[in-house]
Symmetry: C2
Subunit: 372 residues, 2 copies
């Protein structure tokens, strides 16, 4: 696995249980996945990545930032890479993603590629005076995304792309009026098998995932079917292998539009570790090893995951275990082993049960113990 | 954790999720828990164990074989040890265990300490012409246990104890007519809190655990209450900290008798990894760290665990994943990373569900894929 963050860390338990030897190429010493970090090195350096990859059976990722030339060097060297570079580019470049989804005929917000402020202002004028501008590359957790009313608000982004030979354009999208955000996770094997978890509702605060409810309330029937069909069409259409997370808008006029893609285990799937027969981490391992996928049913009617964002101002999460464990004995607590810092994802908690209100209350209350 | 077997290995995922740094003193290189093995060394050597223990906050065990003098050296050095030597001696010496349980007034088979063949023959004559003889120390998985009709059948054990200054006696017990075997697991913190999982039924083949059903069928009510009361009385009476497994006989005349004790996570609790809110491994960590214990409820009505004993004659468990995963997508498969060998515990599988027959069928069928 390339990348040593919390997604790599949470893959380790699944690997241990299946007897799969997981090796991690981490960005630095002491990262979340350090227990399995065989090597520390620069994932943008082809030699470093190739040396790591030659000692493993299959390469996968905890982020989408490995450059295409490095990915292709792996493929050229005969290393199985899942997801492969031709799929990953759609997760690396939001303009390519929009083009790909539009080509597949999938529901997306109205969008355009804009190279100049004039083009952006024209799009804004055609879409009610506001739009969402995104840098095609490098954005995550709300970074590289801005709601604007005039091109002048992203003047410095235009300046940057003028210097950047790779992209040369920004993505602009209509400002979607949505009722809520949803996420559909699926996993796909290289040989084609696909498994879908239930559609979930996600709550974002400041562009960062705060809370996930599985399954999404009031989603049974058509909504769930549409979401699953869209995610499966993307996985097949773009040739994704491993876990694919499709972030969706449920619009106020009852459409489902694709917002973003992630081709790896995803925050919106963390609930599966405690709430589903097969966690997204085990499923990702099965998928990238081209082994039959596991069941995606739920242990209880509801699972609610709440992120621990930031953590305590002083001390560590573990300093609050006595309080959290005593008050919330049925909540599952996951600690990423990262130093607390404002806004940083340092852990998450999950509550499962037959009553949604209870599960929401328990998960929020347990997470709150770890935050000031 | 002292000992690098599969119990230490299965503790690693629980430690990772809680952000607890688990270090293992393993007996040899390449053991089951190698991913967390900080050191390889002889657990019977006080210097080795002390050097390891000085770098950790609390010492616990994946087996009960650390000698009393080594345990006391740790305590004398101020290292928290859970379970402590005064509790562990009852798990290390079956004669002491019988004396301790009898002193607590707990239900045990009729037993005697015998130092000579004549004493043993007298016990046999008083108990219907047959009895069970056990070596007080070193037995596990049926080793050191023999059903005899005359003292001559254990003549070599008498010869051995004559040379062994420590014990100097054998344990003899009535041959209990039992309907089935049960196990009651509890966890106890140093500060006193106790949590009990449901009583389970265990099936032994040739002295080795083969199958566990949780909860034990037809155990609701009095039987479950008696078993929990007995286990709690043992945990409190002997001062056990961490997980305590109490193996029980349900006799044909409806008594519950204590057979054996284990003061650590136990094969009869593996189902909890997939079937309970809190796995025995997470609970053991919580207990030995003196943190509040987790919920012990079940995800589904039934959990059935079947051991993979021996494994394939050729190849590894992983060679059969394609077949096992495809045929049994909801069964959880645990691979201990050990080389297959006849009779060796190399893994286990767990099926959970609302129908007991289905869960038994699924778990047995999935385990059978890994055996010839």
């Amino acid at each position: 696995m390339i990348g040593g963050g919390q997604l790599a860390r949470m893959m380790i338990p699944a690997a241990i249980e299946l007897g799969v030897e997981l090796r991690v190429l981490a960005e630095a010493e002491g990262m979340s996945a350090a227990i399995a970090a065989e090597r520390v090195g620069d994932y943008t350096d082809a030699e470093t990545v190739l040396a790591f990859a030659r000692e493993v059976d299959v390469v996968t990722f905890d982020h989408e930032h490995v450059p295409q030339d490095v990915l292709h060097a792996l493929v050229d060297a005969g290393v199985p890479v899942h997801p492969g570079p031709d799929a990953l580019r759609y997760a690396q470049d939001k303009l390519l993603m929009r083009e790909g989804l539009s080509r597949l005929g999938l529901p997306v917000p109205e969008w355009a590629r804009v190279e100049t402020p004039a083009e952006l202002d024209a799009f804004i004028a055609d879409h009610g005076g506001a739009a969402v501008v995104k840098t095609p590359r490098g954005g995550y957790d709300g970074k590289g995304v801005r709601v604007v009313h005039t091109a002048a608000e992203v003047a410095e982004w235009f300046a940057t792309i003028a210097e950047d030979g790779r992209a040369g354009a920004l993505l602009v999208e209509e400002l979607v009026e949505f009722r809520r955000e949803l996420a559909q996770l699926v996993a796909r094997r290289p040989s084609g098998e696909i498994a879908a978890w239930p559609l979930v509702e996600t709550v974002q605060v400041g562009g960062v995932c705060s809370e996930v409810i599985a399954p999404a309330p009031r989603s049974a029937g058509k909504l769930a079917d549409v979401a699953a069909d869209v995610a499966i069409a993307i996985a097949e259409g773009l040739g994704v292998t491993g876990v694919l997370a499709v972030e969706l808008f449920e619009t106020t006029d009852d459409r489902v539009l694709v917002n973003e893609l992630a081709m790896r285990p995803h925050n919106s799937g963390h609930w599966s570790m405690d709430g589903s027969t097969t966690s997204q981490f085990e499923q990702h391992l099965r998928a990238v090893l081209d082994l039959p996928l596991g069941g995606t049913g739920c242990h209880e009617e509801w699972a609610v995951m709440v992120n621990v964002l930031g953590g305590p101002v002083e001390g560590t999460l573990a300093d609050r275990y006595a309080e959290a464990f005593a008050g919330h004995p049925t909540v599952k607590i996951h600690n990423y082993g990262k130093a607390p810092r404002p806004g940083r994802k340092v852990g998450h908690v999950t509550a499962i049960g037959s009553d949604l209100d209870d599960a929401v209350y328990e998960a929020r209350a347990a997470a709150a113990v770890f935050q000031d």
